[in-house]
Amino acid sequence: MAGKVFAVVVVLVTLVTAYCVVTHVWWMPVDISVHGPKIDHQIEETILVAGLLFIAGQIVLASFVFRYGGATGKPKQIPGGAKPLVIFAFVLVGTEVLALSFIGSKAWGAVYFEAPDPSSLRIDVQAGQFAYYFRYSGPDGKFGPLHPELINEGNQNYFGLDPDHDPDAKDDIVTAEIGIPVNKPILLTLHSKDVGHSFYVRELRVQQDFVPGLSIPVHFTAIQTGRYEIVCTQLCGLGHYNMKAYLSVLSQSDFDDWLKKQAAMQ
């Protein structure tokens, strides 16, 4: 009896899970980046491979439990013993994981091995407890050097710039929201001023940690205008859940206006 119930429960759970995944009850948001489809494709590929293993595993488990629960008489082993199982694991699962790691490496390589476009718009991103700030180089195209000892957030000097002494820093534009032009390669440089943080934009399919002491480049191209959330995914302290910023993907002309307005506010 218990075996039959167990089998039914396992099958039910498997079907409900499969249904939820296949019908996308809760699912990834729309993809707005050039590289994103590769990642989405890889996720689908993995769902296919792993999903088949999941369903097969649970159903076989359930059916054996259903069939052999409470049986009597001389028990028997599966014909051929363990050899076919081990071969199956090595060949089938081995092929699967090889294929996954091969295709996955290609997807990964296409995203992360590609050198950033030299014409990319460079934006400096700083994370701190518990906010992001962004810096554009301004007309001179140069970022002023950072002086951590000058950071004074109350005076809104979030980066520790010294425009009085550093000419490069004079026209740097610091913003609380990141605006980017659509269809233009973007190169972010991530650095943290205190602890580890992360830069996660679900729609961009980008997640990258900020590691204190390191400057980490991230590049992408957004292909759809709109306003998207950037959230922190690396535990950074009490305000972690509330650490976010917005990414505005704008048309080129809107972006130019936006940046002008930001420059005027400095």
Binding site: L85, L100, D194, H240
Partner: protein, 587 residues
């Protein structure tokens, strides 16, 4: 002469309550002490998860006891974000170390392993006693963080530097609380090293006559392999903790880079590497999840043959070699925790491959369990139900691994609730289910009484369904980009997921409530349960060849001789390992 006295002392039970039950060198008492400690820890950890789940789904609900417990962290029962993170940190720490590492390995291992190898005790009984008491002090240190003004640390069980290294400038709980946490973990490391050493030497040197390695029960095999993994892994966590402690207390900069600014103030550190911490931690941290799951493999493999009335397919070899492969590979996959941490993308690929390949031995283990059911005569006593539940949970959990082993898919799913769902299935609940299986299985041996079967089954069904309701939903919300370790959902993105959050909370409350059935059953049966025979399951290994509970030196001075492997079953018939009868299953 001195040696005679030592000799005599070893074989005679100590007198007096303290020496007999508290500071006892008897491995059985120590095993029970470990199990009790982890049961207490499990209920504490569960209570913490309840508080967190309630807060997540019903942020305005005033949790009654919480306001009284911490007027600072939860004024009027409303949790502050820092208190949520503290509870989360302590839930992870208590569950990962004091429950999942302690119960299936140190708890059952201590009680059962020496009996299964036919020894009178562990190789080093006094070392064994100290390893429990050091663990206990570690537990007290961790628990003490709840009672200091600043509260427990909030940097998660992974305690990433520099958040965990710079001290109280990083936020509440990061002062004394984090220091106590580091000390507690260091204590746990020392205790685990002593325990692992004892397990290894006992298995190597203390086996009784005829008990070759190929005749070891599968649970002993798993504990033996596990002891090696934990010996090597905890030997790395200990120096890692030492470096962290020096950064916190000695002003060094191992993990703290220069130029950090907290609250507009430049910190006096330079040159440290946060990634170094992550590497050291995960070099321990990934084997740690196998340290947790390998004893579960062993317990389930040990229980299966008894209740399917035949040997496992492939005998002792296939499953054991799968365990060895898993244990070995676990040391070369730690980088998959760091795909998004600024590690070079090439290294990410290098770590991805062994991570994916570790599924092969895991799949072999699962295939062994599943296909052993073929042609079996399955008996559904509670231990077996829990073992079957373990297999189902482990399959489900393993599937999630495919997504997290690849850097490309991980870059979306990393740090979402998908990960939380994944590790709760694979190492959390799987290991808990195996622990329950072991508990129902060995309970008659430990206490000489049988647990109530009806309550046990009720406990199983509620737990099994509850686990799926909570943790599958976590996977699904993870696909939707729900970020883990958030104390409230203020993202535009995550507010639509609130119904799922409520569903998980209600399921988790029910799942937790079901555990009180177990608690009641365990305590009630201890005093009122029906007396058990020496071998109630018709099993074959040495622990069933002695009385229930076993005498002080396990076999009453007998030196056993072993003639068979551990899986001599054939429907109703079975042959004890100690019996000189002919083999019926050819093991």
């Amino acid at each position: 002469m001195a040696e005679t006295q030592v000799h005599a002392a070893h074989h005679a039970p100590s007198q007096g309550f303290i020496r007999k039950y508290v500071f006892s060198v008897d491995h059985k008492i120590i095993g029970i002490q470990y199990l009790t400690l982890s049961m207490v820890s499990a209920f504490i950890g569960m209570a913490l998860s309840w508080a967190m789940r309630i807060h997540l789904a019903y942020p305005d609900f005033r949790i009654p006891i919480l306001g009284w417990l911490s007027p600072n962290g939860a004024p009027n029962g409303l949790m502050t974000p820092e208190y949520y993170l503290s509870l989360m940190t302590m839930h992870g720490t208590i569950m990962a170390f004091f429950v999942l590492t302690a119960a299936p390995f140190a708890g059952f291992g201590n009680f059962v392993l020496p009996i299964q190898v036919g020894a009178a005790d562990m190789a080093f009984p006094r070392l064994n006693m100290s390893s429990f008491w050091v663990t206990f002090v570690g537990f007290l240190l961790a628990a003490a963080t709840f009672f200091i003004p600043d509260g427990p640390p909030l940097s998660g069980w992974t305690a990433y530097a520099p958040l965990s290294a710079v001290g109280s400038v990083a936020g509440p709980g990061q002062g004394l609380g984090q220091t106590l946490w580091v000390l507690s973990i260091a204590m746990f490391c020392v205790a685990s090293l002593m325990g692992a050493l004892n397990f290894i030497v006992t298995t190597l040197d203390m086996r009784t006559k005829g008990l070759t390695l190929s005749r070891l029960p599968l649970s002993t095999w798993a504990w033996f392999i596990d002891a090696w993994v934990s010996l090597l892994a905890f030997a790395v966590l200990l120096p890692c903790g030492l470096l962290l402690a020096l950064d916190r207390l000695g002003g060094t900069s191992f993990f703290i880079p220069g130029g950090l600014v907290f609250n507009d103030q430049l910190q006096p550190h330079s040159g440290g590497s946060p990634l170094l911490f992550q590497h050291l931690f995960w070099f321990f941290g990934h084997p740690e999840v196998y340290i947790i799951i390998l004893p579960a493999f062993g317990i389930v493999s040990h229980i299966f043959p008894t209740f399917i009335r035949k040997p496992l397919v492939g005998g002792w070899k296939v499953i054991t070699f799968a365990e060895i492969a898993v244990g070995t590979l676990s040391f070369v996959v730690w980088g998959h925790h760091m795909f998004v941490s600024g590690m070079s993308p090439f290294m990410a690929m290098v770590f991805s491959v062994p991570t994916l390949f570790i599924t092969i031995p895991s799949v072999i283990a699962v295939l062994v369990w599943v296909f052993s059911l073929y042609g079996a005569n399955i008996r559904f006593d509670t231990p077996m139900l829990y073992s079957l539940g373990f297999v189902s949970l482990f399959i489900t959990g393993g599937i999630g691994g495919f997504f997290l082993a690849q850097p490309s898919t991980d870059s979306y799913l990393h740090a979402t609730s998908f990960v939380v769902g994944h590790f709760h299935f694979t190492m959390g609940l799987s290991a808990i289910f195996a622990t329950f299986a072991g508990f129902y299985y060995w309970y008659p041996k430990i206490f000489g009484r049988t647990m109530n079967e009806k309550l046990g089954k009720l406990h199983f069904w509620l737990s099994f369904v509850g686990v799926y309701c909570v943790f599958i939903t976590l996977h699904l919300t993870g696909f939707a980009g729900s970020v883990r370790r958030y104390s409230a959902f203020v993202d535009d993105f995550m507010i639509p997921l609130m119904p799922a959050q409520r569903f998980m909370t209600i399921s988790a409350l029910l799942l937790g409530a079901a555990q009180f059935i177990f608690l009641f059953n365990a305590i009630w049966s201890r005093f009122k349960g029906p007396k058990s025979s020496d071998n109630p399951w018709g099993a074959t290994t040495l622990e069933w060849a002695t009385t229930s509970p076993p005498p002080f030196d396990n076999f009453g001075g007998r030196q056993l001789t072993v003639y068979h492997g551990p899986m001599e079953y054939d429907d109703e018939a079975s042959v004890m390992q100690t019996s000189p009868e002919a083999s019926i299953a050819g093991t």
